[in-house]
Amino acid sequence: MTNHWIDIKNSDCILIMGSNAAENHPISFKWVTKAQEKGATVIHVDPRFTRTSAKADMYAGIRSGSDIAVLGGMIKYILDNELIFKDYVVDYTNASFIIGDNYKFDDGIFAGYDPETKSYDKSKWAFAMDSKGNPKKDPTLQDPKCVYQMLKKHYERYDLDKVSDISGMSKDEVIGLYEAYCATGKKDKAGTIMYAMGWTQHTVGVQNIRSMAMIQLLLGNIGIAGGGVNALRGESNVQGSTDHCLLFHILPGYLKTPKASQQTLAEYDKAYTPVSNDPKSANWWSNYPKYSASLIKSMWQDDDPKVAYNYLPRLDSGNAADYAWLALFDKMDAGQFKGFFAWGMNPACSGANSNKTRQAMTKLDWMVNVNIFPNETMQFWEGPGMDPEKIKTEVFFLPCAVSIEKEGSVTNSGRWMQWRYKGPDAPHGLKPDGDIMYEMMHEIQKLYKEEGGVYPDPITKLSWDSIATNGVFDAHKTAKLINGQFTRDIEVKGKKFKKGDQVPSFAYLQADGSTTSGNWLYCNSYTAKGNLAARRSLAQTEEQAKIGLFPNFSWCWPVNRRILYNRASVDLQGKPWNPEKAVIEWTGPKTKWVGDVPDGGWAPGSKYAFIMRKHGFGQLFGPGRADGPLPEYYEPLECPVKSHPFSSTLHNPTAISFADEAKAVCDPKFPLVGTTYRVTEHWQTGVMTRNQEWLTEMEPQVFVEMSEELAELRGFKNGEKVIVTSLRGDLWAKAIVTKRLKPFIVQGTTVHLVGLPWHFGWTWPINEKGESTGGDSANILTPSVGDPNTGIPETKAFMVNVRKA
């Protein structure tokens, strides 16, 4: 979230698209309702009428996977009707940038496409540069090659007829949505988007979100109270686990994983440290070398970061297609891995194509699974269709403590780092994950110290004891190291620090090994002032109270800034666009900014607003994405149509897929669009919730929701057990025949959509005979295809059939 949960109350129009917030983020609705009570319009666009729809002022049904048609149409609507927030667009976005001559777009394909590698040469999308090496601009937005004019051209195809025709939304619904939402392009109006997996789990996931980010930029909705681009993240610490980068391509603080071509720290830093020749561009990532050196120093404290850089493993490429989730399990299936950790995860149910995942696990020599309860991953070898006697995999299941039994912090969707205290003791002497991993690595370190081995230095020299006290994992010590410490007596910015002092904020980090910081984004969270994440004060100034800002409750990255990009909430003189809901305000050279922590303390107008971008502007034209600089409509890789009205390129040409796995495109054997979702009473694969009687009593088994029309057509009865099938597999489910789903008219044809929750698994709950009563994971149906940027699988739109059990 660029903003935070409470801030939703400041909105004038809340678009909930790609999420069922009322059921999956129930408490978020406290703030949606507050906004609504003050007159805000709430719009829900979703394939299914849910509790979110029931609370909304407007609901529109959309065929899953067709969002970019609707959003592209909204961009056209804004441009055609001149609804942009002009000053904002000129001052803060790259609308005025001139696009270089190599850029082209033709029939769904951008310049630079290589069909062989299914990838683009992104250099073809570069901006035209002036003699100083800065992008050429036309602030009048008249130049036919400026981003603004190119947007107009690109989206002129996205007219109402086409949008309605492919999405299944009626024209009235489309117009209603556009009118209501685009009314927020005014100085004193704010519109916000609440999205979740309904947008990310597509082969166009990134471009779904980019479309909306562009709309928010055009309407001047980024950086302001009640605005922003707000991902409703689904796990208590998925924000934190992403910030700390338990992902192949990034290191803590969104630093890049080194590549094989970067043989020294200097080469690595150079590759990722952008250079701007414009003095007004803050170009914050120019600090990259300070953050990388401090990270390396936090891991290997006795070595010079230049030396310890060699301890970090290097990738052959940065492509999701080579390393991300889908590739990982594909390679596991091909026998590449002998060992596997599934730590706090149940991949046998959670990822796309569960049967493939489960089969892949049979190729492992050993697996370590850490979890609260037994689950389908650790029991995969005795699952449906498995013969234990033929499966070699050695399995270690390490049960662990639950959240209330341990101390540490988690970061919520609004980037609040919140401290948890330990309540009860875990039963049976079970230990927190931190203790288990500390002891495990300690054991490995001991082995390498005693016996040596292949390239032992990264292990033997690892400063592992800096996260423990007297041989026990210490969350406070670790949090302090993540913040960062000075490694010697030093003076920075006129302030003297002693060796061992906490670094006050990332502005003090150094590139020469004189500071550690496990994650520069969290530098400022645990300082001389103490553990700021544990703060519980509701104190606030009058300005802060007006917009529900609680700067003294918990801590928020970066440097306790509660609303990101907030320099865009004021004009070039530092006056808030909307004084009633000011996020920050310039009060003069002496008193400076009041309100939130500004996105850099410089005087207004002296630096461009988007400080994390090399050139300082919000990117309407985004030349960094794998699948194009502008969002373009493509069908899901499994879809019910042979063509769409925007181009003859049916699918995202760069999407991740495996050639040997068939896809159902207009396949009469799988005529129904399938989608997955969650219910309030269960969580993710259900490992935690299926084991609780209070919750399984409310939601005991997997179901498939279908429209009355489809049920009538196929003769299904409400409550009947049916079989849902796809090219990957099948599972039984209870049919729920409901008005919540309606058939869509797509290109003149009726398209039915069915949906299933993915919380279930064969191991539990069971009856007295030991038979599963909950059913299995809906991911048995979903395909191994994914977004080319993120690698996130397309589990929200795929093709299935339903038959009688």
Binding site: I27, E235, S236, N237, S241, T242, C245, L246, L247, F248, P252, A260, P313, D316, W325, L328, Q336, K338, A342, W343, M345, P347, W366, I372, F373, E382, T393, F396, P399, I404, K406, N412, G414, G423, P424, H428, G434, I436, M437, E439, M441, E443, Y455, P458, L462, W464, A475, T478, A479, I482, G518, Y522, F553, W683, Q684, M688, E693, W694, G791, I792
Partner: protein, 194 residues
């Protein structure tokens, strides 16, 4: 503020002698009434209170956990009324967290399945960690890539993969990535990818 502080100091001075309802001499002293017997029969059950954050979605609702100091088990878990996001409200899952902790389905020891075995057996944590360490070292040493096909130094372990976890605390996430990367793993993924 000044006034409050003054009041506060005076009142805490009276605190030393305050026995509510005892100042009118109406037989409410513990020594002589039935009260004494009643009080003597009462045995206080002590609890501690700790705040935590819900372990489910990323709204990050605050919880108050009451834990019996006698057996260190949770007595109840409820919404934290002073948390500015949830203001004491919880959803069905959050409201059930007590049952997540107090649950017979939680295993009481480490479980181990030997290759080709049809069942798990209970093993000690120490035994498991030693054997896991041995496996990690063996696999890493066998599959470690110093130099890639292009002749570049890559220093990575291609034979072990990891998934997880958004269910870990920040400090654990950081420690886990540190552990994995020092081992040379590059196939590191978790919930954020799906």
């Amino acid at each position: 503020m000044h006034t409050n502080r003054r009041n506060f100091l005076k009142l805490s001075a009276t605190a030393a002698v305050a026995t509510a309802f005892g100042g009118l001499g109406l037989g409410c002293t513990a020594s002589k009434s039935q009260m004494a017997d009643r009080v003597a029969a009462m045995s206080p059950e002590w609890s501690k209170q700790t705040t935590t954050i819900c372990c489910y979605c990323a709204v990050g609702c605050g919880l108050v956990v009451n834990t019996s100091l006698k057996d260190m088990k949770a007595v109840n878990v409820e919404g934290d009324p002073d948390h500015p996001v949830n203001e004491g409200s919880l959803c069905a899952k959050g409201a059930s967290i007590w049952q997540l902790a107090n649950n017979d389905r939680r295993p009481d020891s480490v479980m181990y399945r030997a290759p080709y075995s049809k069942k798990f057996k209970k093993v000690s944590m120490a035994w498991a960690l030693e054997r896991i360490a041995h496996n990690v070292k063996k696999t890493r040493d066998e599959t470690f890539t110093r130099i890639n096909a292009r002749g570049e130094t890559v220093n990575r372990c291609d034979g072990i993969a990891s998934v997880g976890s958004a269910a870990l605390d920040n400090e654990e996430c950081w420690a886990y990535q540190t552990m994995l990367r020092s081992l040379g793993l590059v196939y590191i993924e978790h919930q954020a990818r799906i």
